[in-house]
């Protein structure tokens, strides 16, 4: 091989594949991984487009009749469906969902805005149906996707960042620094994750996207921390780090220039896993009414509305939110699996 390499010297210079390039090549060979990657990219596009108001900007407009059925079903035969949105809807939510503390407030807001726009022409059917106020479920789903995905991503990045810094310090230095972070870790893990989130939600008593991100990010670092710390413990005694010590590389250099790239695949996979975990948590929080604000739509708040709609036989909002979430989360999970396989070929 040395002879061949010597011949190719001029040509090959900068083209030698690093570990990342090799991982990418392995990834491309995995068809399931590639498809799931495309799904994830598609959702990223959706989130970005919705974020800059390219699409679904007027999701809150009441463009259809109340509970407008999807176009592929056709207009509903009138069964005494509600025509005055505000009062009727408010009452029913009160019955069907007695635990939703926001139902009343929500209804008031809707009633006010609904009354203003009632004059506009309302379509009998919508692409994927309409909700209680006749808003387009498809647009709502896109907007909900934006919210849920954004929360999941940012919270995961925050958690991964904290975990990496804590884990690197604890694992690399050991001693009392390690003891301190381990204590911190055991305090946080003694309280079950969802209980901790709910407790914080209770004391903050303040809804909103930023709050959810902070709650999830500040409580969700423990799992990644444990893994990063273990990786640092493992790597700091490896011979290549001892060699770096022997040639005189400083502590920060060993920690971040030598070790970090070697554990970054673990962090990346965990980041990806936590996006899914946080999206799910956000959905539950918003469903319970402790999540995003009342004027924001997320998959969780959609499911909350869908719960009472289902009993009346209006299934499309439930289907839309479920489908969107299942598609993204499945895509993301399969992508994570493929990523793990590509980055760490030993594990299969």
């Amino acid at each position: 091989m040395t002879q061949a390499a010597a011949l190719a010297i001029g040509v090959q210079r900068a083209e030698s594949p690093g570990l990342w390039t090799l991982a990418w090549r392995r990834f491309c060979r995995d068809r399931v991984g590639l498809v799931s990657f495309l799904i994830v990219v598609f959702f990223f596009g959706l989130m970005a487009a919705s974020g800059v108001h390219l699409i679904a900007a007027d999701w809150s407009k009441e463009v259809g009749v109340n509970y407008a059925p999807p176009t592929f079903i056709g207009p509903e035969v009138a069964d005494g469906g509600p025509s005055a949105p505000g009062s009727h809807g408010g009452e029913r939510t009160g019955e069907a969902n007695p635990f939703d503390p926001l139902a009343g407030v929500l209804a008031e807001i809707r009633a006010a805005s609904g009354a203003a726009s009632v004059a506009e022409a309302q379509a009998p059917t919508l692409v994927f149906g309409g909700d209680r106020w006749g808003r387009d479920v498809l647009q709502k789903t896109i907007k909900g996707t934006e919210t849920s995905m954004f929360v999941g991503l940012v919270a995961a990045v925050l958690a991964a960042f904290l975990a990496t810094v804590f884990g690197a310090l604890a694992g690399y230095y050991g001693g009392w620094i390690d003891d301190f972070f381990n204590w911190f870790y055991s305090v946080f893990t003694s309280i079950p994750y969802l209980l901790l989130i709910l407790a914080i939600a209770a004391v903050l008593n303040q809804k909103g996207t930023l709050t959810v991100i902070l709650i999830l990010g500040l409580t969700g670092w423990t799992g990644i921390f444990r893994l990063v710390r273990a990786e640092y413990l493992k790597h700091k005694v490896r011979e290549y780090i001892q060699a770096a010590d022997a040639i005189g590389a400083s502590h920060p250099r060993r920690m971040f220039v030598h070790i970090l790239p070697n554990v970054s695949h673990v962090i990346l996979v965990q980041l990806s896993l936590h996006v899914v975990l946080f999206i799910k948590s956000e959905v539950v929080l918003s469903f319970l009414g402790f999540g995003v604000g009342v004027d924001t739509v997320s998959w969780g708040s959609m499911l909350n509305e869908a719960q009472s709609e289902l009993i009346l036989g209006y299934w499309w909002q439930l289907a839309a939110a479920t489908l969107a979430m299942a598609l993204l989360v499945t895509g993301f999970s399969l992508f994570t699996d493929a990523l793990r396989d590509a980055l760490d070929p030993k594990l299969k």
Partner: protein, 571 residues
């Protein structure tokens, strides 16, 4: 079950091929159509370097090849008692395994199930194959443990594997394997993971059992020297093919194949010390061996050499937490003193746990606090503050054992070799540093293009060259080689040893050469220091210590070295 061919052949392997699927597109042939016989009541040694297909052959006999990614193409046959083992139904094969044919492995620790007692793992075989009751099996298991020489069998039968030493674990594995008095015992590198003194005991045990049970042994090893002592027949494999096979005396006295000859001579021998070790290429190309491989090199100190490093009363303890506030002290190194002469090599030998590596790491201050002093140019390396350490760091460097772990996999070779220059601000500009690195690559025998490649693109031997080049960037006065060639195949080992020797001749560096391999140390070192349990047992010039060892431990160690072929022996 007991159908043994009257012609004296127990197992006949005919045209065996094994393919491994690496990924969806790549298939490699691990074994490329080999044929050989295992006669009854004799020992056949299967010898080869890594990747030769020797272990794969053994697994194929027992039908233990991984099902997911290996296939045996039709036409291959392994004949035993008139039946082709490769075509046997799974149930039939299960009845043979452990009863007629059994196997022991390289790593006894991981080969035993960690959560069951030794007794459980022996009796399991007895109840399965011989239909014994629990009580009968336990009695027999005790007998077996006694037979394989495990002390206090009554206590050890209820011990878990982790409670036994490495040697005892391998004995327990052997007890399991011989429980049903098999016709064939396959031993896959059974002593590679063990210390040399234990290795000798295990080899003797296997040889004794072979005679007493009148079984055949298929002994798989990379070490030809072992083979000379125990085998009747030898099969030499390389890259999935048989290079040569025959009776042991024929292989050792009149090897026909160039590769066999190379294997015999690449490894340093105790009685000779050529200026250069012959390498595999020397044998594969026609013509006589180069003169330098025939000339002898003389080693040793006269006593008036310049001393570059003097270590006095070095001690190193490790502490493990015990209880709430308690600590338990473990003394890894106790009161070690030695002197290292400029341009000479000090060999340190010892078994695992002797503290030889700890000495090296402590000198480099890679292991924290220690006691004693290490005078280097009149300065005590162990007590100068970290901030003043930098100029000394570059003058003492180290090459580690595992070439796969000692290079950062995310760095290119260029980055790896430039880093020390940058850290120590050697050279005035990047381009000057780069030129330096190119020159070094050439010096250690690697092409210039390596600069842009990553470690995973190189073989173990090449990586070790890179590790050596990294040390050379700083032009150290002292180079510590910590088992630097132990993980390499014999033929590669010779090349790296030659490189180290050339570099010493040219740059006049001092080496501390640490190894468990006494033959390699004898070849490389001027002076040898023997360590045992953290203490220095004996220090002397290398020729003296091998010719005339003083301490009983040194004597024991030297007598355990595999002797290789010693001419016809009374069997």
């Amino acid at each position: 079950m007991t159908a043994v061919n009257s012609s004296g052949t127990l197992i006949a392997i005919r045209d065996l091929k094994v393919d491994f699927r690496l990924d969806r597109t790549t298939v490699t042939q691990a074994v490329k159509g080999i044929s050989f016989d295992i006669p009854v009541n004799s020992t056949v040694a299967l010898v080869g370097e890594s990747g030769s297909g020797k272990s794969v052959t053994a697994l194929a006999i027992l039908g233990l090849l991984p099902k997911e990614n290996s296939t045996v193409p039709p036409g291959s046959r392994i004949l035993y008692g008139g039946r082709n083992l490769l075509a046997l139904a799974p149930g039939e094969l299960q009845k043979l395994r452990g009863a007629d044919i059994s196997m022991i492995f390289q790593e006894p620790m991981s080969s035993l199930n960690p959560v069951f007692t030794i007794g459980f793992q022996i009796t399991e075989v007895l109840t399965k194959h011989l239909g014994m009751t629990g009580r009968q099996a336990r009695v027999r298991a005790l007998e077996l443990l006694r037979e394989v020489g495990i002390p206090e069998p009554e206590a050890k039968i209820d011990a878990y594997p982790f409670q036994l030493s490495g040697g005892q674990q391998q004995r327990a594995m052997i007890a399991i394997a011989i429980a049903c008095e098999p016709k064939l015992l396959i031993a896959d590198e059974p002593t590679t993971a063990l210390d040399v003194t234990i290795q000798k005991q295990i080899l003797e045990l296997i040889a004794a059992l072979q005679k007493r049970l009148r079984m055949s042994v298929l002994f798989i090893t990379h070490d030809l020297a072992l083979v000379g002592e125990i085998a009747d027949y030898v099969v030499v494999m390389r890259e999935g093919e048989i290079k040569e096979q025959g009776r042991v005396e024929q292989i050792f006295e009149a090897p026909q194949d160039a590769y066999t000859r190379a294997l015999l001579l690449c490894r340093p021998q105790l009685e000779r010390r050529p200026r250069r070790l012959p390498v595999i290429d020397d044998f594969l190309k026609p013509g006589p061996l180069a003169g330098s491989t025939l000339e002898e090199r003389s080693r040793g100190l006269r006593g008036d050499e310049e001393i570059i490093l003097e270590v006095r009363h070095l001690g190193k303890s490790f502490y493990s937490r015990e209880g709430l506030f308690g600590k338990r002290e473990f003394k890894a190194v106790k009161n070690v003193s030695f002197k290292l002469a400029r341009g000479k090599t000090l060999g340190i030998v010892g078994e695992s746990g002797s503290g030889k590596t700890t000495v090296a790491l402590t000198l480099l201050r890679l292991r924290g606090e220690s006691s004693g002093e290490a005078l280097f140019d009149g300065k005590d390396l162990l007590s100068i503050p970290q901030t003043e350490m930098m100029p000394y760091k570059r003058r003492i460097q180290i090459v580690f054992q595992n070439p796969y772990a000692s290079l950062n996999p995310r760095f290119t070779i260029g980055q790896l070799l430039m880093e020390p220059l940058q850290v120590h601000r050697i050279g005035s500009s990047e381009s000057e540093r780069r030129d330096r690195v190119y020159k070094l690559l050439e010096e250690v025998g690697l092409p210039e293009v390596s600069f842009f490649k990553y470690p995973h693109e190189f073989s173990g031997g090449q990586r070790q060259r890179i590790a050596i080049a990294r040390c050379l960037t700083m032009k150290p006065d002292v180079l510590i080689c910590d088992e630097a060639v132990s993980a390499l195949d014999v033929s590669i080992q010779a090349q790296v040893l030659n490189l180290l020797q050339d570099l010493q001749d040219e740059h006049h560096m001092s080496y501390i050469f640490i190894s468990h391999d006494l033959a390699v140390v004898k070849y490389m070192a001027d002076q040898v220091m023997v360590m045992n349990e953290g203490e220095v047992v004996e220090v002397a010039n290398s020729d003296d210590i091998y010719r005339n060892p003083q301490h009983p431990y040194t004597k024991k160690l030297l007598s355990s070295i595999p002797q290789g072929w010693r001419g016809a022996r009374a069997r």
